[in-house]
């Protein structure tokens, strides 16, 4: 009797934490990684006027990993989520073009701070109930490397950060991580959180047909109010300045000259 009901899908254990299943990918809109930012003359911030924006490179790796899980039959659906202003829809459409099935924008004024982002994503997580949540390890603007871990703590989930390999085995997620001395592998109970490092995969390019198809895929917008989250900023940026400039160096014309400079001028050897 129970077997029949299970096979008709009418009752049974929830798909939460069971494979194949949903993967949630959190992505961020950031400056394109080729851009060299300049600080504004009034030292209030960096100058982002007319700067090219893109999906954060580590988030692209996250999308790629999720899409590969779907292609290998280990995930049923890939949902991309971004937190930020309405322009983030561009990056969500990119995620859809790369293979995500659906996108969610949590629309805010500007970009909230990591703790608020983590709380908003927890709200989306509760609604979506994925088995795996993948983040890029850090965004190349703030370079914080915080949001994925904060989210994992709020959701009470295990985390595999700086991942160079992700392997699903039943309802365990094995993550090989790049750590200070080499590599470490941890086993996490699903649902779990992964943050991607550079060598996890090489992201694909979006083909033109996929870019066109992405325009028709679902993109829903939520608000912090709807998720019951109060966005708070507790870190104030007082000033932004360029780094100390290195003094110009010289070219030497031989190894001998180099060694002489290092010994007698710089005195470092």
């Amino acid at each position: 009797m129970r077997l029949t009901l299970l096979s008709t899908g009418l009752i049974g254990p929830p798909s939460y934490g069971k494979w194949p299943m949903k993967v949630l990918v959190a992505i961020k809109r950031v400056i394109d990684y080729n851009v060299k930012v300049r600080v504004k003359a009034d030292n209030s911030d960096v100058d982002l006027t007319n700067v090219k924006m893109a999906v954060n490179p580590f988030c692209e790796i996250a999308i790629e990993e999720a899409v590969r899980l779907k292609e290998s039959g280990q995930a049923t659906e890939v949902v991309a989520v971004a937190v930020g202003p309405t322009q983030c829809q561009e990056q969500l459409r990119t995620a859809l073009a790369l293979g995500a099935d659906r996108a969610v924008l949590v629309e805010t004024d500007g970009f909230p701070q990591p703790l608020s982002v983590a709380k908003l994503l927890k709200g989306v997580y509760d609604q979506e109930q994925p088995g795996l949540v993948i983040f890029g390890k850090q965004s190349i603007d703030a370079d914080n490397n915080q949001t994925g871990q904060m989210f994992a703590a709020l959701a009470g989930l295990g985390q595999g950060t700086f991942a160079s390999k992700v392997e699903i085995a039943g309802d365990t997620v094995n993550v090989t991580r790049e750590v200070d001395g080499g590599l470490q592998t941890v086993a996490l109970k699903a649902p779990a959180v992964v943050t991607t490092d550079l060598r996890l995969n090489e992201p694909r390019y979006a083909s033109l047909p996929n870019i066109m198809k992405a325009k028709k895929k679902p993109l829903d917008t939520l608000t912090p109010e709807a998720l019951g989250v109060e966005v708070k900023a507790t870190i104030e940026t007082l000033r932004v300045e360029p780094p100390a400039e290195r003094q110009g160096g010289i070219k030497v014309d031989s190894v001998e000259a180099l060694v002489d400079k290092l010994k007698n001028e710089a005195k470092v050897i």
Binding site: D141, A152, L183, Q184, R246, I250, K251, L262
Partner: protein, 309 residues
């Protein structure tokens, strides 16, 4: 001010970066309690007790902390943070992995990778791959902060005599476990602490060719590093990567061989005291930060350098 400082250690000894974090704590001011969490970590706790300016050491010695699993260590730190104004750690793999969980558990934001202490609530930190420096002020009740160790001179290893208190709190989140690790053990100084670093880039051509750097590294008692390109190409393992998302180093001398000098690599080494670049491309961006640049074929120049040092 009352600072809880999370020690970086391997159970037997403190990792040198802990000495730089103590310096950052001293810059903030107030009393310093060091937390040593691990398994069989008594010796590390004793070493922490000898550091100058430390008033107390808490030693949480339990199997669940043995591999520094963030899910277990973070609630321990959050619990121990009660009554403190700041929680500090190095911006190391462990610091990056664990401290954001601590911040979330304490319901606060955090300030990562600080390069200076301006006051007890104001810090400077690099962002945009080190192309900009932000001065930030936190209004959080507890300031959770990770420290870029290269920005602070280390305190001496002796001068203190704090008491070591056992902290019996055991947190086993039960959602993660250690499987295995491949840690490279070299007879070289550690990359982030070495006085001299010799780094190879894509120009090295192969992993085999990195051997030609070894002679120079040996003579200078240097650590060896690499650019992302060299690691991606499989020439060398990931723990050698210097850069925005790899290791940040600031040695007395950084010798970049066959490295073009992409922004992201510079972010990891441009605070080195003296930078030398050897590259056959005279337009390589690395020459803009090098104090001494040699436009030459590295396969000639490096063996010659080894002979002439």
């Amino acid at each position: 001010m009352s600072i809880l400082l999370v020690a970086e250690h391997n159970n037997t000894a403190l990792n040198p970066v802990t000495l730089n974090v103590v310096a950052a704590a001293q810059a903030i001011g107030g009393d310093i309690t060091v937390l040593v969490a691990g398994e069989g970590c008594g010796a590390a706790a004793e070493a922490a007790a000898a550091l100058p300016g430390v008033s107390k050491v808490l030693c949480a010695d339990a199997a669940v902390y043995g591999k520094q699993l963030a899910e277990n260590v973070a609630p321990l730190i959050a619990e121990a943070a009660a009554g403190h104004s700041h929680v500090l750690s190095a911006h190391s793999t462990n610091g990056k992995n664990t401290m954001p969980r601590v911040a979330a558990l304490l319901d606060v934001n955090m300030v990562s990778d600080i390069i200076s202490v301006e006051s007890e609530d104001t810090f400077k930190r690099p962002f945009y791959a080190g192309n900009a420096i932000a001065t930030v002020k936190s209004s959080d009740a507890i300031k959770v902060v990770t420290v870029r160790h290269t920005a602070f001179d280390p305190v001496p290893t002796t001068g203190g005599s704090a008491a070591v208190e056992a902290l019996g709190s055991v947190h086993d989140a039960g959602v993660s476990s250690f499987v295995n690790e491949e840690i490279v053990k070299l007879d070289r100084p550690e990359l982030t602490a070495a006085r001299v670093v010799v780094s190879g880039g894509r120009g090295m051509g192969s992993g085999e060719n990195f051997k030609i750097l070894e002679g120079v590294a040996d003579k200078l008692n240097a650590a060896m590093g690499a650019s992302r390109a060299a690691v991606d190409a499989g020439f060398v393992p990931n723990d050698m990567q210097v850069g925005q998302t790899g290791k940040i180093v600031a040695p007395e001398l950084y010798i970049a061989v066959g490295i073009s000098g992409a922004i992201q690599h510079l972010a990891g080494m441009k605070d080195s005291k003296v930078i030398v670049a050897i590259n056959k491309d005279e337009d390589a961006p690395i020459f803009q930060v090098a104090d001494y640049g040699l436009v030459a074929d590295l396969f000639q120049a490096v063996p010659e350098l080894e002979a002439k040092i």
